[in-house]
C-alpha cells in the first residue's frame, strides 16, 4: 500500500485575518482559542493547573500559576495560528465563576490561594448569615440563595481567617476579584495601572450586587462584612476595559462573561425564551428572560445573562444539575460496567428500554428544583429481569429527566414555553441521549456546529465591542445547525415514564436523617 501522506495545501479555508482571541480561564485549565470572522476555530492552546485540596471539601487554585498559564496559552494559540498580535482585533475573557481571590494592590501578589467555587468551607458561615430568615435572606436583591458557591461569603472567610487580612483590607491595600478581574487587571498592567473591573455576569455571582441597579449593594456588603474598597468597578460584558500590555501590547481587552453566560452568548440565545444547556460533569441550563429579572419560586437562580455596552441588561434563569456526565464516569470508574464513557451508548442501545429501572443520582442531595440535602442516590424498580444494559439506559434517562425537570421549573417561573433546546458540551456526541432528551422534553434538541460555545461567546462579545461584528444579527447568521433530534415518543408513554421517574425521585428524599 503506497498511500502518500503529503501535506495538501489549501485544505483549510480559514478566512484571512483579522481574528479575535478568547481566553477561557476554567476550573481545571486555562485555554486560548483564536476565531476567524465566521466564528470558526483557527487555533487552540490549553494548559491545566493544579487542584489544591488542603482539607476535605476545600478546593483552591494558585492564582499566580493561573496567570502564568494564561500568558502561555495566549502566546501558544497565536503561534499555532501563525499570527501576531497585530492580527488580533480584540481579546475576550470567560472564566470559572465565583472563584474568589484577594491580592495586594501594590505588588500584584495573591495574599492567599483562590477559593474555588466548589469549595464548601463557607457552609456554616452561610447558615449564620441567613440569621432567622434562612438561605433566601438576600435572594430578592441578588437572585441567589445563601450557598457556599458564591463569592461574598468566601471574601468574608478570608478576611476572618487569614492573619492580618482584615486590617490590610481596611487600609485599602487589597483588591478582590473573580478570575475575570484577576486576568484583566494583570493583562492591562497589573500594579502598573491595571484596570480593576468585573462584568455584570461575574458580579451577579458574588451575592454582593443588586440585580436591579447593577451596583454593589451597600447593605449586603456591610451585612457580610466586606469592605467596598476591595470591590472592582462593575462594567458591561462587552466594552473595551483597557489595552493589554506585555506580549499583546495594544490589543483591546473587550469582554468578560462567566462561563455559562458565555455559552448562552456563544449559542446566540439573544431572544427571550431561548435556552442552552451545557452537558459536562454537571449540567447548566440557562434561559434568556429578556430585560426582566424573573424571581424563581421553583429553586432556580436569577442571574444576569449579559449586557452589551450601554444597552439594557439581559437576565437569565439558571438551573444546575449536579450529576450528569459524572454519572457515566461513575459507571465506568466505580462500577466498571464500561471501559470508556462513549461505551455507555453501546451498552444502552443493546436494549429497547430501561426494563423498569430508574436511576436518580442524588449523590450529594437533590439540586434544582428540589434542593434537598437529605436525599441520596437510588436505583428503583429492580427485578431479576434488569441487566446492566437496562441500567446504562437508566443512566442516560436520568440526565434527560433531570433536564426535563429544570425546563418545567423554568416554564413555571417565566411563563415562557421552550421551543427548542440548544445543547453543547461533551455529552452531545451521545446520539441516544440526545434523542431521549428530545423525546422526554417533547421539543427539538439542536446541536450547533461549534462545540466550543464558551470561548466563542467571549470572542463574540469582544468582537461586538470593537466593531469586528456589527450586531447580534450578524452573530446569529454564524450559528449553524450541526444536528437536530426531534421527538418520537407517544405522549402516553412519556407521561407514564415521567410519573415513574418522579416516584423514584421521591424515594431518594429523607435518607440522611439528621444532619450535623
Amino acid at each position: 500500500m503506497s498511500e502518500t501522506e503529503n501535506q495538501s495545501a489549501g485544505a483549510s479555508t480559514h478566512g484571512e485575518g483579522p481574528f479575535i482571541a478568547a481566553i477561557d480561564q476554567g476550573t481545571t485549565s486555562s485555554r486560548c482559542i483564536v476565531f476567524d470572522k465566521d466564528g470558526r476555530i483557527v487555533a487552540v492552546d490549553q494548559k491545566e493547573h493544579e487542584q489544591i485540596f488542603p482539607k476535605p471539601g476545600w478546593v483552591e487554585h494558585d492564582a499566580a500559576e493561573i496567570w502564568t498559564n494564561v500568558q502561555q496559552v495566549v502566546t501558544g494559540a497565536l503561534d499555532k495560528a501563525g499570527i501576531t498580535k497585530a492580527d488580533v482585533k480584540a481579546l475576550g475573557i470567560t472564566n470559572q465563576r465565583e472563584t474568589t481571590l484577594l491580592w495586594d494592590k501594590a505588588t500584584g501578589e495573591p495574599v492567599h490561594n483562590a477559593l474555588v467555587w466548589q469549595d464548601t468551607r463557607t457552609d456554616t458561615l452561610c447558615r449564620e448569615l441567613g440569621r432567622n430568615v434562612g438561605q433566601d435572606r438576600f435572594r430578592r436583591e441578588t437572585g441567589l440563595p445563601l450557598a457556599s458557591y458564591f463569592s461574598g461569603p468566601k471574601i468574608r472567610w478570608l478576611l476572618d481567617n487569614v492573619d492580618g487580612l482584615r486590617e490590610r483590607a481596611e487600609r485599602g491595600e487589597l483588591l478582590f476579584g473573580t478570575m475575570d478581574s484577576w486576568v484583566i487587571w494583570n493583562l492591562t498592567g497589573g500594579p502598573d495601572g491595571g484596570r480593576h473591573v468585573t462584568d455584570v455576569t461575574n458580579a451577579s455571582r458574588t451575592m454582593l450586587m443588586n440585580l436591579h441597579s447593577m451596583n454593589w449593594d451597600e447593605k449586603i456588603c456591610s451585612s457580610m462584612g466586606v469592605p467596598m474598597s476591595l470591590l472592582p468597578e462593575i462594567r458591561s460584558s462587552a466594552e473595551v476595559y483597557g489595552e493589554a500590555t506585555g506580549a499583546l501590547a495594544g490589543v483591546p481587552v473587550a469582554s468578560a462573561l462567566g462561563d455559562q453566560q458565555a455559552a448562552l452568548f456563544g449559542q446566540t440565545c439573544f431572544a427571550e425564551g431561548e435556552a442552552k444547556s451545557t452537558y459536562g460533569t454537571g449540567t447548566f441550563l440557562l434561559l434568556n428572560t429578556g430585560h426582566e429579572a424573573v424571581n424563581s419560586y421553583n429553586g432556580l437562580l436569577t442571574t444576569v445573562g449579559y449586557r452589551i455596552g450601554d444597552e439594557r441588561p439581559v437576565y437569565a434563569l439558571e438551573g444546575a444539575i449536579a450529576v450528569t456526565g459524572s454519572l457515566v464516569q461513575w459507571m465506568r470508574d466505580q462500577m466498571g460496567l464500561i471501559s470508556t464513557a462513549a461505551e455507555i451508548e453501546t451498552l444502552a442501545s443493546s436494549v429497547e428500554d430501561n426494563g423498569g429501572a430508574y436511576f436518580v443520582p442524588a449523590f450529594s442531595g437533590l439540586f434544582a428544583p428540589y434542593w434537598r440535602d437529605d436525599a441520596r442516590g437510588v436505583i428503583a424498580g429492580l427485578t431479576r429481569y434488569v441487566t446492566k444494559a437496562h441500567l446504562a439506559r437508566a443512566v442516560l434517562e436520568a440526565t434527560a429527566w433531570q433536564t426535563r425537570e429544570i425546563v418545567d421549573a423554568m416554564q413555571k417561573d417565566s411563563g415562557v414555553e421552550l421551543t427548542a433546546l440548544k445543547v453543547d458540551g461533551g455529552m452531545t456526541s451521545n446520539n441516544l441521549l440526545m434523542q431521549t432528551m428530545s423525546d422526554f422534553l417533547d421539543a427539538p434538541v439542536v446541536r450547533p456546529m461549534v462545540a466550543e460555545t464558551t470561548c466563542l461567546g467571549a470572542a463574540y462579545a469582544a468582537g461586538l465591542a470593537v466593531g469586528f461584528w456589527s450586531d447580534t444579527d450578524e452573530l446569529r447568521a454564524n450559528w449553524k445547525r450541526a444536528a437536530e433530534w426531534t421527538p418520537d415518543m407517544e405522549a402516553a408513554d412519556r407521561d407514564r415514564e415521567y410519573k415513574n421517574w418522579l416516584k423514584a425521585v421521591q424515594r431518594t428524599m429523607g435518607w440522611i436523617e439528621e444532619e450535623n
Binding site: M1, S2, E3, T4, E5, S8, A9, G10, A11, S12, T13, D38, R40, I41, S339, T340, A341, A342, E343, I344, E345, T346, G426, T428, S429, N430, N431, M449, V450, A451, K480, R481, A482, A483, E484, W485
Partner: protein, 280 residues
C-alpha cells in the same frame, strides 16, 4: 497428519504458564518448569515480548502477559467512541466544505452511518445516523472496501446493484476503482448511487493503521465537482498523474474539486491522529 511447529507449541506453553491472575515469573522459573535450557526460554520470551504478548518488569526482570493479548480480544473500536473522537473534526469539515458530512463503518454487507453533520445552511435536514449505504457504489463504501479486507470480500461476493447509469457493477471495473482508491487514498461517487449527488471520502485508521471507517462529504454534483460538461472522460486534477491509465476500464470520472478532496483527507487524518493518540 501435519507436524506441529515446536516453537509455536512452546510459545503457547509460556503464555499458559503466565496466564491467570497477576502471575509474574522469572526466566529460571519459566525455563525449569518447561524443562528447557535458559537460552531457549529466553529466545521464546524475547520474541513474545517483541510482539507485545509478554512484558518484562523493569525492576524485577520478571515476565508477565502483555497488553497486546488483551487487545486481541477487544480490538474492535466502539462506534460511539469513534463518533466522539470525530465530532469536532467533522463539524469543521462541514463548515469548510459547506456540505453535509457522514462517517461510516462496515456493518454486515454495507456501510452503517454512525455520525452525520448537517450541511451548514440551516435548512431543514433529517439526521441519518443508523442508515445503511451500499459498499460498492458510495464513496464511503469504496474507501472501506479498498482498505478493509473483510469489507472487500463482502463487496466482491455480494450483489452490486445498479442504482444509476454510472454505477460500477462488474467485478473487474470495481477492482480497478478500488485499486485507484488505494493508490490515491480517497474515493468518489459521482451520481453512482443517487442522481444529482456526489461524494468524496477518505479512510480513518486506528493507531495500528488498521482501517476502522471512512469520513466524507456529500452534496449536489454541481457543487462537489468542477464545472465540467459531463462525459468528457477527463480524470480529476486531484488524482495523481498516471491514475487515469490505471483506472482504464472504469467509467470516466467527473473532476472533483481539489479543495474538497484535500479537506476530506485532512479531516480523515485528523480523526486518525486522535484515535492514535489514545490507548485502549
Amino acid at each position: 497428519m501435519a507436524r506441529n511447529i515446536q516453537s509455536l507449541e512452546r510459545a503457547a506453553a509460556v503464555l499458559r504458564l503466565l496466564a491467570g491472575g497477576e502471575r509474574r515469573l522469572g526466566l529460571s522459573d519459566i525455563a525449569s518448569s518447561m524443562d528447557l535450557p535458559k537460552g531457549t526460554a529466553h529466545g521464546l520470551l524475547r520474541t513474545l515480548q517483541q510482539e507485545g504478548f509478554v512484558e518484562q518488569d523493569e525492576a524485577t526482570g520478571k515476565y508477565q502477559l502483555g497488553a497486546e493479548l488483551l487487545r486481541l480480544g477487544t480490538s474492535y473500536l466502539d462506534v460511539h467512541e469513534l463518533r466522539s473522537r470525530a465530532l469536532v473534526w467533522a463539524d469543521d469539515l462541514a463548515r469548510s466544505s459547506g456540505e453535509s458530512v457522514y462517517l461510516g463503518v462496515l456493518h454486515q454487507q454495507g456501510v452503517l452511518i454512525v455520525h452525520h453533520v448537517f450541511r451548514p445552511d440551516n435548512s431543514r435536514q433529517v439526521l441519518e445516523v443508523g442508515a445503511m449505504q451500499p459498499l460498492h457504489s458510495t464513496a464511503l463504501g469504496k474507501v472501506i472496501s479498498a482498505f478493509d479486507p473483510v469489507a472487500h470480500s463482502e463487496a466482491v461476493d455480494g450483489e452490486r446493484r445498479r442504482f444509476t447509469e454510472r454505477t460500477v457493477t462488474s467485478l473487474e471495473d470495481f477492482e480497478d476503482v478500488l485499486e485507484l482508491t488505494r493508490a490515491r487514498g480517497w474515493a468518489a461517487d459521482v451520481e453512482e448511487t443517487w442522481e444529482g449527488l456526489a461524494s468524496i471520502a477518505a479512510p480513518i485508521r486506528d493507531r495500528r493503521r488498521m482501517p476502522v471507517g471512512a469520513v466524507g462529504v456529500t452534496g449536489a454534483v454541481e457543487r462537489v465537482c468542477e464545472d465540467v460538461t459531463a462525459g468528457t472522460g477527463v480524470v480529476g486534477s486531484a488524482a495523481p498523474p498516471g491514475a487515469a491509465g490505471g483506472a482504464g476500464g472504469a467509467p470516466a470520472e467527473a473532476e472533483l474539486r481539489a479543495v474538497l478532496v484535500a479537506a476530506v483527507r485532512d479531516c480523515a487524518r485528523a480523526v486518525s491522529r486522535d484515535l492514535g493518540a489514545r490507548r485502549f
